[in-house]
Point group: C2
Chain length 347, copies 2
DNA sequence: TTTTCGATTTGGATCGTTCTAAATTCTGGG
DNA sequence: CCCAGAATTTAGAACGATCCAAATCGAAAA
């Protein structure tokens, strides 16, 4: 009459044991039912399931993970979730893993390597099966390299860390900017500005190199005064273009690091009475949803976020299954999208 | 010589036991050290910590949680993370909990109640201490009510579910729209459109009611043809305004459900040769970062996301500590922001 | 040299599952 | 009615931490 001394405990959590007692079977059988094992008899299964429903049983995944050492859980660290390109990518990667039956935990690093490290170690402590990382600016190479040694399945997404020895799902940034730059050169532009991007990320380095090398390949000089560095934001784009237009020999076109900057550039042009797509050519990068809605609609480079997310998910699962396979890279190709913000040089 | 028969296992995970053996103390002592207990002698602590570093020990939080029944983990379900207002709110809520020493797991429901339910039950299975939910459109009242009965600490954020019996951190939407509407009436407008919002969310209902009731309070008739319903997007804003301008007695101003729609409206106006802020008054809601960068800069209503995130975090922790306290609500106040997109009626 | 008492350390049970090996129950054929 | 072999079910030891009560240690007091 006093078999369960813990009855007094405030909000007693229901366990497998209670469920087993209620259904009149052993814990092992209940476990089998919950794991959808074909071993258990149909009648028993139904009875257990009915008890679970009746009692409002909640499975304790933590306890199960402790035993199985597999959590079916993936951690995703995003450098900066309020950047719309990464917001979209985040949505894609979550969708991809959900489709594959994994649980996804997302964290925003806010471009802070310390926050990112914090999240990574939390996920390790929770025994996550793997990690997808869009590294924050200034991420330490060693800390990434350590991941590999520590034997944690991990893939980098969108931003590469050279020498990390990790798998990578990204985009051909160099080629994308190349397409834009060549297109502008073909239109007759000779003074082409490159606005935004920093060398702290592979994306910045690749796009900026793409610009420089395409100019060179076409016999155009690199004018340092036309290259402006900076973290992307609308206001940095607006400020930059206003400054560039005050030069003695101002540019007639701008290749922007991304769409957000390009929007800023278009706003800045208007503020000084110049019409983008008529007086000045503007190209963005990313093809955000709003790009085609602007007037003029923004010419830009399309990135296939869906492909990147899917590739990252696939790479990670392969890595989990086979920790010692050689490092893999999947690079999605850019798509030049010509809309109305480009034009031949004015005058 | 064969004390650890499991030496063969592939990538053996290091445990407290290994650490204890290495440092020459008991498991209990190691546990004390890791929990930063003041009970353990300084010398012992140093030795254990050194062993941990040397061996590359990783704490197993899952195992600990099993014993302690507290995870210090919070789940955050966001209705739609690619909506910039919610992206910002997500960043705020994560920051708030991180500051309070909690681990935060974020999930994007994509406005799909099923995805949201899925996440909630995963978090329950992981024994999360609490939940913050921005409910997806069409969230079932019963499922929210059940949360309360199930004794899970939970607060709603930004979107309320009447009758759920859950705590709520939100914004005075009715009053915000009221401020806008009254401002426009004061400017002399009589034909004021309301664009966007659906009755599926409390936000939609509150803002739409605010518009209707403010018109009534000022003795203006409600013209049904001036009210357009719809899920927010730039294109819906652009389409709506073009349609409204073709009416026999077109509006001279628009109160938009949010900034995104207002941007669409401004784009639509330009497409038909009308200049926002001169020929037509446009007001948004949310005060997204880009609102002040548009030309004309968008007049709008500021929402204090930081306050909402902080309030939600505080409410949740209070609820966790005291599950039976009466339900609480925290409503942040709107701030009318007058910029350049408003104007008196043209003509 | 004992005693005593605070400061440290520890053994062993426990949290809620899974898993292995073995026990039990069914079946149909002889 | 018995029995082999398949179909089900189960006991009990993990998994890796925490926590309680009790043991041990040290230094000061007697």
């Amino acid at each position: 009459m006093n078999e369960r001394p813990k009855l007094l405990r405030a909000r007693e959590r229901l366990t497998l044991r209670d469920l087993a007692a209620h259904a009149g079977v052993s814990r092992a059988t209940v476990s089998l039912v919950l794991a959808k094992s074909p071993l258990v008899a149909e009648k028993t299964r139904a009875r257990v399931l009915e008890s679970a429903r009746l009692l409002g049983y909640v499975y304790n995944r933590g306890a199960a993970n402790l035993r199985t050492r597999r959590t079916h859980t993936i951690g995703v660290a995003i450098n900066e979730i309020t950047n719309p390109y990464f917001t979209g990518l985040t949505a894609e990667i979550q969708r991809a893993f959900l489709d594959l039956g994994r649980t996804v935990f997302i964290s925003n690093s806010d471009e802070d390597p310390a926050r990112q490290e914090q999240f990574i170690s939390t996920m390790r402590e929770y025994n996550a099966d793997g990690l997808v990382i869009c590294p924050a600016q200034g991420t330490d190479l060693d800390s990434m390299r350590r991941l590999r040694e520590q034997g944690i399945a991990c893939v980098l997404m969108s931003r590469d860390i050279a020498g990390s020895g990790l798998d990578y799902a990204g985009h051909a940034n160099h080629r994308g900017i190349s397409l834009v730059t060549e297109h502008l050169i073909g239109l007759g532009h000779r003074r082409i500005a490159m606005i935004g991007g920093v060398d702290l990320t592979s994306t910045g380095r690749e796009r900026r190199a793409g610009y420089r090398e395409t100019l060179a390949a076409n016999g155009l000089p690199l004018a340092p005064e036309l290259v402006v560095t900076g973290t992307p934001s609308r206001s940095m784009g607006a400020d930059a273009i206003k400054r560039l237009l005050r030069l003695d020999d101002p540019p007639t076109a701008a290749v922007c690091f991304n769409d957000v900057i390009a929007f800023g550039v278009m706003l800045g042009l208007r503020q000084v009475g110049r019409e983008p797509g008529r007086d000045f050519a503007v190209f963005g990068y990313d093809d955000l949803a709003e790009a085609e809605l602007w007037t003029p609609a923004l010419s830009t480079v399309g990135i296939d976020s869906h492909a990147i997310g899917t590739a990252a998910a696939r790479l990670l699962l392969e890595r989990i299954d086979n920790p010692d396979a050689p490092v893999k890279r999947e690079i999605s190709q850019p798509r030049l999208i010509i809309r109305a913000s480009g034009c031949p040089p004015a005058r």
